[in-house]
Structures are given as C-alpha cells and as structure tokens.
Symmetry: D2
Subunit: 321 residues, 4 copies
Amino acid sequence: MIKVAIAGGTGYTAGELLRILINHPEVEITSVLSTTSAGQPVTNFHRDLLGETDLVFTDHLGTPDVIFLCLGHGLSREFVDTHDIPAGCRIIDLGNDFRLDSDYKGMHFVYGLTDLYTEEIKGCRYVANPGCFATCIQLGLLPLAALKAIEDEVHVTAITGATGGGRKLAETAHFPYRDNNISVYKPFTHQHLGEIHKTVAALAGSDPQINFVPMRGDFTRGIFASIYTRCGMPAEEAVQIYKEFYKDSPFVFVSDAPISLKEVVNTNKCLLHIESHNGYIHITSIIDNLVKGASGQAVENMNMMFGFERTLALKFKPSAF
Amino acid sequence: MIKVAIAGGTGYTAGELLRILINHPEVEITSVLSTTSAGQPVTNFHRDLLGETDLVFTDHLGTPDVIFLCLGHGLSREFVDTHDIPAGCRIIDLGNDFRLDSDYKGMHFVYGLTDLYTEEIKGCRYVANPGCFATCIQLGLLPLAALKAIEDEVHVTAITGATGGGRKLAETAHFPYRDNNISVYKPFTHQHLGEIHKTVAALAGSDPQINFVPMRGDFTRGIFASIYTRCGMPAEEAVQIYKEFYKDSPFVFVSDAPISLKEVVNTNKCLLHIESHNGYIHITSIIDNLVKGASGQAVENMNMMFGFERTLALKFKPSAF
Amino acid sequence: MIKVAIAGGTGYTAGELLRILINHPEVEITSVLSTTSAGQPVTNFHRDLLGETDLVFTDHLGTPDVIFLCLGHGLSREFVDTHDIPAGCRIIDLGNDFRLDSDYKGMHFVYGLTDLYTEEIKGCRYVANPGCFATCIQLGLLPLAALKAIEDEVHVTAITGATGGGRKLAETAHFPYRDNNISVYKPFTHQHLGEIHKTVAALAGSDPQINFVPMRGDFTRGIFASIYTRCGMPAEEAVQIYKEFYKDSPFVFVSDAPISLKEVVNTNKCLLHIESHNGYIHITSIIDNLVKGASGQAVENMNMMFGFERTLALKFKPSAF
Amino acid sequence: MIKVAIAGGTGYTAGELLRILINHPEVEITSVLSTTSAGQPVTNFHRDLLGETDLVFTDHLGTPDVIFLCLGHGLSREFVDTHDIPAGCRIIDLGNDFRLDSDYKGMHFVYGLTDLYTEEIKGCRYVANPGCFATCIQLGLLPLAALKAIEDEVHVTAITGATGGGRKLAETAHFPYRDNNISVYKPFTHQHLGEIHKTVAALAGSDPQINFVPMRGDFTRGIFASIYTRCGMPAEEAVQIYKEFYKDSPFVFVSDAPISLKEVVNTNKCLLHIESHNGYIHITSIIDNLVKGASGQAVENMNMMFGFERTLALKFKPSAF
C-alpha cells in the first residue's frame, strides 16, 4: 500500500482520481488537499461518491509516497515552492508546468505519455502528465512519427467535451450557450501544440507543421480527433504498423470499423481507426479527456512508477451510452 | 408605429423581445437600455441578431410609448422609482414585482395572462406579465377552474429548460452538470405558486391546494407540465370544454394526440392534451418559457393594449427539432 | 469460477452484463447467445468492448451454472420451453415474465429486489429481476411501506433515459425527436405498476393507489423519480428511518442534500433524498436504469445466489458528468 | 398569390417548407403530396403545426404554379416522368437529381445557390436547390474562388445535425447512440463534393483538391464548417473582400467575432468568420441545414423566380438557444 495525496482536490481531475483510487487495491488516499474547502467532506464537491468514501478535504499534506498535482496551470511550481515535499515523495503533475520545461530545482520530469515513454516512466520520480488534446493527437501520430513517415504537414481537427474546461463557470460552458452548439477556439494556436511538436520531433527527427483546429463540443466527456497527412502508405499496411506499435499498450487499440466517441467514454482506452484517401492517411483517435487524457493516464503512470501491474484499477465499466 | 423601450437589454427575455420586435410592423425600438453595456451594439450580446439590427445599448430612456421591463425580480419597482416615465407611457413588466401586489404609486397592473384577462388587458396601461411556470400551469387549469370543477388538490410536476435561469452563470447551469441530468428544486414552495393560486381562486371561488414539484431539465427552451386532479368528468367531455374555453385564443390549442415539448418550442403557442384515468383528469401543458412564458406573451399583451391585431408579429416559424 | 451464459446477447442489458462480467473475478462467460448474430464477435454490437474481449456470439447454450435471460418481454418462457436447461443451472430473468407469475413448470422465481428480498435470494435458484422504474420507485417507498406509514395515495412522476427503450429503433428514440424534448407515456397505466403494488402490498399489508406518470427524458441513462404521499412524519425522522432500513444495503444511500440524476449514472447505486412539505413526505430516488435497474442488480443477485461478496465486481467508477 | 405544391410531404424538408409557406403572403399551398399518407392531416406528421393549418395530404397534384420536390435522392426524375406537370409550372428540386446533370427532357435546372447565381435564378423555370453541406462550404469559399485566390488544396471539416439524415430511422440517429457522441462518415468521399467542385471550378477557373471530412454531431439543426487553405492574404483584407462579395446578399454576413452554430439556427442566414494563421486563411461558416441548407434557400429561390422580394417570409425569429 502506498500513501497518496491529491492537491487541488475540488477540481474535475482530482475528482476522477478519487473515483479511480478509492478502488485501487494498493493505494491509501491520505490527504485530499483544498485551500478553500478544508474540513468539508469530499462528497460535498464530488457528489457521485456519496456512500463510497468518508474522506475530508484537508490543508495538511502529510507524508505521502506520491502527490498528484491537480492545480490550475502555472500553480504546480508554486505548490512545489511553498510545500515541504517529503524526501522520496514522487510527484505526478496534471498541469502543464513541467511538460516543456522538464527540469525544476533539481527535479527532472519525464513526459508521462505512457504508451511512448514506458521505460523512462518506470524508473522515474517525477512525471509531467500529458494534456488531453495532446494525448489524443499524439497517440494518433506516434507510429507514423516513429517510422519517419510524416512527410508533410499534419491537419488536425479535434472536438472536446465541456469537462475539458473544468469546474470553473464560464460563458462557453453555460448550458443555454453550449447545448446543441459547436464552436472553434484558439485555431492554429492551442497551447498543447508545444507538447505534440516536442514529442513528434524527438521521435521523427523532424518537426512538421501541425495545423490544429480545436472545437468545443456539446457533450461532457471525450475528445474526437480527425488527423490526416500526406502518406503513400496503403491503409492496410498502416493498420498493421499501428497494431504492431501498440501491441504492448494495454489501452490503445486499432479498430477495423469506424469509431464513435462514446466507445471510449469513461474508460482509459484510446481507439484508433485508419483509412487512406486521395494520397492521405486519415486517422481518427478518441479518448476520454478526463481518463486517458488526464487522471486515468496519471494512475497508469503511478502504477508504472511503483511497479504495480500497469492496468491495476483501470479496467472500468464503460459508459457506452 | 409606436416607440418601444426595453430595460434590462442584455438579458434573455430582452433578447427575445428584440428577436420579435425587429420584425413587428407597428414598432420602432427607440431604446434598449443597459446600465453596464451602454454604447455597445446589441449584437455583442444577442449574437444571433447579427445582420438584422444596428441597435446600440443606451442608458437614455427617451420618450417611448411603452417600456418593457426585463429586470431581475425586485428591480422593476426601483426602475419606476428612479426613472422619469413619460406621461402616457405604458409599462409591461416581465418581472414579478407587480403580479401579486398589483398597485404601486397610483399605477394598477393588470395580470397579463392573455387568454384569461383579455378584456382587462385591452384597456389597460400597466401589465404584470405572468411567470413562465405560472403561464404553463394556469393554461392547463383555467377551464376546470372556470367550471368550478377543481374539487380536490392539484398535483403538478413541471420541467423547465435552462434558459429559465437566465444569462447569469450558475452551477446548476454549468454544462458538465446540466447535460443529461435531471433535478428537483424548490419542491412545494416555488414562488410562482402565488400567481397560480390568485388566478385559480379568483376564477373558481375556492383555493385548492396545489402540490408543485419543479424540475430542471437538460434542454434549453420550454416547460412541460403534467397536471392532475380528481375529477369525474370523462376525458372527451373535458376536451370539448377546453376547446370551447380557448376558442378565441389564437395560440392555445387542445391536441387529441399526446404532445411532446418541442411541438411548441420557438412559438407563442400552448398545447394541451387531456386524458382521464383512475378518477383523475390528467392534463399535459407545454409552452416555450421565453415566448408564451415571457416575451411572446408580453408582445401579445402589447398588441392588445395598443389595438393591434393580437397575433401581429407572433406567428413564428417553429423550430420543431 | 462459475460458468455464465447470456441469452439475447445483442441487446442493451446483455451489453451491460458483459461490461460487468468480463471483470468479475469469479465468472467465466461461456456463451453469449444470439439467434441472429451467431458467429460474430460481440464487439460488433458492443463496440466499447473492443480490446477487452474476444467473445463471439453463439447459438449453443453449453452447460452454464447460471443463465441471464435478456430477451424481449414474453420471450423468457419461450426460451425455457425450447432449451435444454442443464440440471442445477440457475436462471436470472431480466424480462418481466416471472415477476408477477412467479411459478412456472416447477420453477419458483424469487423477485430479485436485492435490498428487500435479501435472504430469499441467497438461497434461491431462480430470480425474476425487477424492472427499472419498479426498482427506482420501490426503493423510494420500501421503508415507509415496512413501517405501514403509507396512509394515502402515492404520487409518482419518473423520467427515464432513452436506453430504457433498448436497441430497437423507434420514432420516440429518433434523435431529431428526442433531443431537447420531454413527453409523457402510459400515464397511470405503466406495466411496472404491477410489481410495485405487489411488493408494497406484501410489505405494508395494504394496497394504496399509486398514481404514476412516466416520462421520456432527453438523456441516455438513468431514472429520476419524484414520489410523495401524505405522511405526518417530519423529514428528519424519515431520514433516520430510511438510513436504518438501508444500513445493510451496500448500494443504497440517503443524501442529506438534494440529488441530481448523474450522481448515480454508471453505478449500481440508488440515492434517496427526503423532505417534508404541506403534510407530504417527498422522496426523490435515482438509479441508473441499466445498472441498478437491470444488469447491475442482476449481478448483485448472482453474487448473492452463489455466495460471493455482494458487491463483487460492482464498484464502478462513476461517470459523474 | 401563387399556387404551390409540395411533393414528398411527410419528410423534414417538406415540413420546413410548410412552416415557412403557411405564413408567406403571396403563397397558397394547394397540395401537399404523399403517396403513403394521403387523406391524413399534415399535422399528424408535422405536429408543431397544430392550430396553424388544416392542410391534408393528397395524391392529387392539381395545377400549381410551382412544385417543390422533397423526395429521396434519385426520385425527382421519377416524379417528373410519372406526373403530368402543368405547362408553365416551375420546379424547385430539393434532391440531388439535377445539381450536376442539369438538363433533363428539355428542362434546364439552374443551380440554386442564391448568393452566387442570383441573376440566372431570377429568370429561370427550374432550380436544383443546393445540398446543405454544399451550401455551407461554398458560401465559405465563393469570395476566394471569385478572386482566383484558391492557390492550393482546401481543408474542410464540417459537422452536421441529425436532421440532415431525415425522418427515416437509422442506427446513427438512435438517441442512445447519437447523444453526446461524435463520429466521422464518408471522409474525403461525401457526395456533395461534386457540387462544390463544379461551382468552385466555374468561378475560379481551376479545380483545387478539396479534402472534406464530414462529421455527425449530437445536435439536431445546423452545419458548422471549418475551412482553410494556403493564402497570403491578411485576415483584415479577406474580411473586406468577403463583406464586399456578400453586400447584396440579405442573409450572408461576416462576423468580426468568432461564431458559434446556434447564432444561425432556425434562420435563413449564413454567418462567416475569417482569421489568418500560419500562412493559411481560416474560415468558419455556419447555416441551419434545414433552412439556408434546404427549405429556406428553396423559398428564397421561389421568391426570386416569381419576382417577390427576396426576403419575403424568410425573416424568422431565431431560436438562439
């Protein structure tokens, strides 16, 4: 049993961690930190956990074996600066503070893309958990990049659910606006492009332009990415290459039939589907933004870091509908 | 042509008034008031009107023939207190300030339930426009009340769309919460009960208990009310009575087949369906909360007050889907 | 390890059973029956299971220890008539064939309401799994019935998700109709009333009238029931009685705060919230129609019948959003 | 007053025509044809029209001045072959039979893209109304094509609402599947590409490759298209060019702020927004698929063909929410 602390306990990714970790056989959650809600039951905020946990928010870190940082982007460094992290304590950061700048005060953060940096993660102490869009898009591109087969620009359109924006109220998450609506935001400039470029460049040895149009979808969970790039490879060959690339990944699968987003909702899976048209290879990639795109992958990282079975406590009943 | 002012111009009911009145052949909108957004185009807030109007929010009332008050509940009295209302100017209040306390500083507000107080409205200067739940439920009960046929308690469950809560951000209108969700609020205590009781008592000469369970639905527009009360009348007879009662109402219809909410969305209509079971008469009643339940009925009132054809500018293309 | 067969394998409740049982440590799924799709992978129909199972539909029953019948209502008897059920094989019927007529050809079906007939289920061979509406409403009424405190009529409005109608295409489940819509169906006459009456009468020694208005909601999973009946008991006292009644139920909890449907979606839980108003006790009750209202409760029954821990494989990560 | 017939009267586009034309001051609807439902009130199928029309489906064409063909694709030719079209009767086909092959039995069908072929439409007798995706995407590309500024491939991702699939029940329109879901269909091969290519080629004098990924959205109405192509033109310049191009189009507007789909739902408008990034010009284009993408544009065509004011009966109250 390891002792786990969660910082930023009232947010959505913290809630997902709780949903996962209360059923993890090797974990004892010793502190769920909240600066604003210390003393309140966690079920006041994560109401679906009623009857499943008596945990109470605290402002006392304690001596955990690992801390999950579920803070607003930019606040992870501040947390590290202002808290007395126990010696030997591991850190998994779900924010974006250490994804690009991976070294800070003697700590080196491994980029926690579980299906690529598998070996590095196993031995490491600090993990920068990937962004949700970044996870979905990278998993769609890794086999091509590894093969140096990205010869031209990459075109990506990806649609995210509203939980991607977190618990904070916002006009674009106001139900009368969001319901039955679609919109584009940050076209060509989304902040996850940095992570994607870094990974693809490291793997492919080149740095293709990636044209990324993110969209806000009128659903709660999941990211659907449509990706294409010029590539002469026939679809059947690509399918084999992708299946081979992910053969040891317990949560990434290639579907022979076209996929739809809800096939992965509330799971830690990524499903991929590949076709070729007009000299393009077209890949659709789907994940649950809060699970494989955040807290699920974070626990997968934790399992790997502590030598547990990688899938431990991560085989969820899918929602399906 | 009459000159119209709208106070509280950035809110949802003001937006609906604009959508209706810019196509009204007898109306010139002379001022859309906003204390916070004066100087901005109205299309900054009501973005669907782009290309249809060049109106700009103002803080100057001018000399309208009628003012629509689309203010937060409680603020209509304050508006009247602090503004120089031109002599002869009519007022239609969409808030709840004058629905129960209908006299204020020499002004008498007629309760603007168009399908009941038709004659009173025609000659009046001040109208208190009914609440959305109140409109939907009252239209379901009026013929029975008029017949003194409400012999026992009335049981009402009514579900409202999220626009009922207005533009203000709220946790219960946050998309990740509201989507695919249902909840009850203010059971047995909703503030619209006052209006309903007042009308039913005036009409029936008695004041039956009304048990009203309001629910928040995961849709944007509309109210669906399920109403039943003990009544020995066969359904066929009730249907005839309802059809007779509403024969001069241009927007209220009795459906022989069961109804579903979207049959009235984006219209000024109310549809009713009546069955009898177990000694109960069961009535379903549906309206669009922002149209017949607010701005549509308000314009219907305006049409009646100014002697225009009652349906003028109110025959909308339904959304249907 | 027990051997499990599932009949009617392409339907929604069969899919949910598969989602649950593939991770059940004491179960081996030996046959997933389908008359129309034998030979096809189950993932052709339950696409979210891609990567998690290689099961193939079959038309061969084999020699299971238990059969789950997920057939259209009325077809369970036919299945029993036309199949060679192995001696000693248990049956859990998710249809309605044996809920009211519990004896058939020497088999006696116990009504599988896990939180009431706990002891009977443990020793039995045949279970008639309750209906979804019936489960939700009964769990809201049982403590009052046990106390003989249902003194008057019961008023119930309950809204169900579209999965309640199953995989079969229907106009009322066509997305352009159902999205953002609400409608009533079978008011006062829904077929689940029989089960509810039978249970309440057995427990209360009386048979109160239950006025039940079912509604179609514009969401996929879950049932939200609003229930009230005359009862002088203060809410605080009722809360204590409900908590005591369900103290050994691992999935039924009383919430002090009001509840919303998604707090139970994709879980086997039932949440209850109780208030008192106007001399009425008002209970809201929520379940996931496919889990506690069908396949989850069915597995709970299986666990009890075979002496496994009752919660085994039933502690799901909630969807929450 | 002109006499109008509608063939294929039970379908979605026929319903939209009815919603529009019953309020058109120059139109008398003389026959709503249905081979399967002759004799039934149209409100049996288009239930939102209850109280607004007493029209009854018929199998008798009569002698209309114009026929709208709302038939399944491929059936318009059959209709023309098997019916006695009155001499002088105009035809507006909402199917795809005459969009590419514009001549048939002496009739020449003008492609009814109102904002491009304005003059041709005014004098013509036969119109092939554009497809919904085709309208949305073409309106996003026309000014660039007219300027010969499409120098490279065009990348399009467009998401459609479920009404695009019509009234026919389908697995991909089954609510449990479609709700909160996203999927791609016919990537790079959608049948509307033909129309788009033909228009762009005619206008630009060249035929760029158009990479079009269509998606199924979890909403009912509307198409959201994201379009980009290499183009050195600064966004500000493009905005001016677009505004100039559409200055006489009463329903096409360029928005300076980013747009979201519901800004056009239930209107005949198209909104465009333009940005430039990475050497690309990025255009978002939105329409209501049933209005500007079908029946609204069809009536706009009728108005132009008969010399009515182009916007007559087409200024709808937007749904907005």
